[in-house]
């Protein structure tokens, strides 16, 4: 029983890595495979997938190549996903580490600020930030990190609260180490696995939220994203559903891949599981 779930886990992790690698490859080679602008008209509008040899995945209502959109969209999705997860992780780790290590009023102040962000509905907050500052890739990255750092902060805070009572941390204190050194050089390496696992989920969430923003027309108008494609295709939902389905499936697979990789990393990095194996 256990070996079956063990193999299954490794198999799903491999699948996740494979899918993610494919999306990254698409993003990296977009300009080589499709040298033109993805917004250019390349064929007759509403060509179904497989109908024309030039546009294998068909065209949308303005005759734009769906395949080109998929490749260029991967770029924006991954950029937004990874960049916002990185910013959220950095802010969350800083806030959580100080709150958890020092406790007391530092914790109170930092956690009240965190709760302020957490009690606002995430998507509404992101939407509001983009609406106020204007839609650009940078603003979207910032708005998505603004809504996702509190979860990291709370997680890291909890880990630090446990860690700072560990005997080795007391040992560092009596050895005369400074607080910053203990926080970043001694405790953080112990918490890193949890942060890495959480970050993969953050990337997936950010990609989905970016698509939702683009779908509502709050995406960066200068770049084509999967959400933009879905948004533009919604008028043809009944007669040309493939326009929505193709980027939709791409989104689904990317989010799935990130979750599978996250689970695999959790298995590999979780110290409790590792100890059980010996």
């Amino acid at each position: 029983m256990r070996s079956i779930s063990f193999i299954l886990r490794h198999w799903t992790t491999a699948l996740g890595i494979l899918l993610l690698a494919a999306v990254i490859l698409m993003a990296l080679t977009a300009h080589l495979v499709f040298p033109g602008d993805p917004y250019d008209m390349v064929g007759a509008p509403l060509t179904w997938p497989g109908e024309s040899a030039d546009t294998l995945l068909g065209t949308d209502s303005l005759g734009r190549d769906m395949a080109a959109g998929l490749f260029y969209g991967a770029r924006v999705s991954l950029l937004v996903g990874f960049a916002s997860a990185l910013v959220a992780a950095i802010v969350g780790v800083l806030v959580g580490a100080f709150a958890g290590y020092y406790g007391g009023w530092t914790d109170d102040v930092l956690m009240r600020i965190t709760e302020l962000f957490q009690t606002t509905p995430q998507f509404m907050l992101a939407l509001a930030v983009v609406a106020v500052l204007g839609p650009s890739v940078t603003v979207i990255i910032l708005s998505l990190s603004a809504v996702s750092w509190p979860a990291v902060a709370r997680l890291v805070r909890g880990e630090f609260m446990v860690m700072r009572e560990r005997a080795f941390v007391h040992g560092c204190v009596v050895a005369g180490m400074s607080d910053l050194r203990i926080i970043f050089a001694q405790i953080l390496p112990n918490v890193l696995p949890v942060i890495i696992v959480m970050s993969t989920i953050l990337v997936a969430t950010a990609i989905l939220m970016e698509s939702a923003l683009s779908f509502l027309g709050f995406g960066d108008p200068n770049v084509l994203t999967w959400g933009t494609m879905i948004g533009m295709g919604r008028g043809q939902l009944r007669d040309a559903w493939y326009i929505i389905a193709i980027p939709g499936v791409a989104l689904l697979l990317t989010a799935l891949a990130l979750n599978l990789v996250g689970e695999g990393l959790n298995d590999a990095l979780n110290p409790r599981l590792k100890q059980r194996k010996g």
Partner: protein, 324 residues
């Protein structure tokens, strides 16, 4: 005679904002260079609190409300965290009782011990590592050149405690505070670790403040013993004197509760316990705090806290001269 290495005079610690909750009520101790002082007593007597006060690491909510702590001829700046960081690890090392959790699981032994050296001295990593190998040899770990690359989970409890001791001694401190250093280890390993501490003391001339409730260790290690009860020192004597002629009823109770094979008189019970437990800080009795548990208590014991005179704080103490 020169001034002692560490002298604690009338140290008082209380709960912040609560003058009634006096956790330490004027503790005085002193240790000379190269000497071993054992501090014994039941849990909750303030043994560990005394050592934390010396390190400037009182838990949140407690404050030092009086007393002077002098170290190597100067006042210890126990409230100045930055100044104390230069003392901790470098001048005073400390060893705790949990070797299992005392090492950082994600770093190799070598890196961990070297980290302490780097914290206090500007040396190259190679030089620090060379010293780590020397230290591990000194604490008698086999194959130190291999062990520096190992991670803590690969070592046994006794080996980890040796690493912890190596870390505490990395910067050649003058004083080592050992807070129940062997409690979590099994008996044979306990004996090895204590022998090691003894050898290191002879080699390096460090003073050891040994905090324990194991009187067997005290007899084996200490030059002098201070007995603490409910936040104050109730008796102090040389180890030989304390075991031969304990004066305070509490000390006698502790000794009677310790197995001593071959010393039993006919008809004597093998072990006698001290009835009751150390009272909670909110329920301290009037007068002598040991009174409710003391078989010798009389009226005067309820009236005043006995002063510390001639090495003992008890109204009913048996004078040493009277002991045969």
């Amino acid at each position: 005679m020169s001034a002692p290495l560490l002298s604690i005079a009338d140290l008082k610690v209380r709960i912040r904002g609560n003058p009634q909750a006096r956790l330490l009520r004027g503790v005085s101790l002193s240790i000379d260079r190269g000497e071993t002082l054992a501090v014994v007593g039941e849990s909750g007597c303030g043994k560990s609190l005394t050592s934390l006060a010396v390190m400037g690491l009182l838990p949140d909510g407690l404050e030092k409300s009086g007393g002077v702590i002098r170290f190597d001829g100067a006042d210890l700046p126990v409230t100045d965290n930055e100044a104390m960081r230069k003392v901790r690890g470098r001048r005073i090392g400390m060893v705790f009782q949990e070797p299992m959790a005392a090492l950082n699981p994600v770093f190799s032994i070598g890196d961990q011990v070297a980290e302490v050296i780097h914290e206090h001295e500007a040396v190259s990593h190679a030089a620090a590592m060379a010293r780590v190998v020397d230290l591990l040899t000194q604490v008698q770990l086999p194959e130190p050149a291999r062990i520096i690359h190992e991670y803590p989970h690969r070592l046994s409890g006794g080996q980890r405690q040796r690493v912890v001791i190596a870390m505490a001694l990395a910067c050649r401190p003058d004083l080592l505070i050992a807070d129940e250093p062997t409690t979590a280890l099994d008996v044979t390993v306990q004996a090895q670790i204590m022998r090691l501490l003894h050898d290191l003391q002879d080699d390096m001339g460090i003073a050891i403040l040994l905090i324990t409730h194991n009187l067997g260790l005290v007899a084996q290690m200490a030059d002098r013993v201070a007995v603490m009860y409910a936040g104050r020192k109730v008796e102090e004597a040389t180890t030989r004197m304390l075991f031969a002629a304990p004066q305070h009823p509490y000390t006698r109770g502790l000794l009677a509760a310790t197995p001593r094979p071959g010393r039993r008189r006919p008809g004597e019970p093998p072990l006698t316990e001290i009835p009751g437990v150390v009272p909670a800080i909110t329920e301290m009795p009037s007068g002598c705090r040991f009174r409710p548990r003391c078989m010798l208590a009389s009226d005067i014991c309820a009236l005043e806290d006995p002063p510390f005179v001639d090495g003992v704080a008890c109204h009913r103490a048996v004078s040493r001269e009277l002991v045969p």
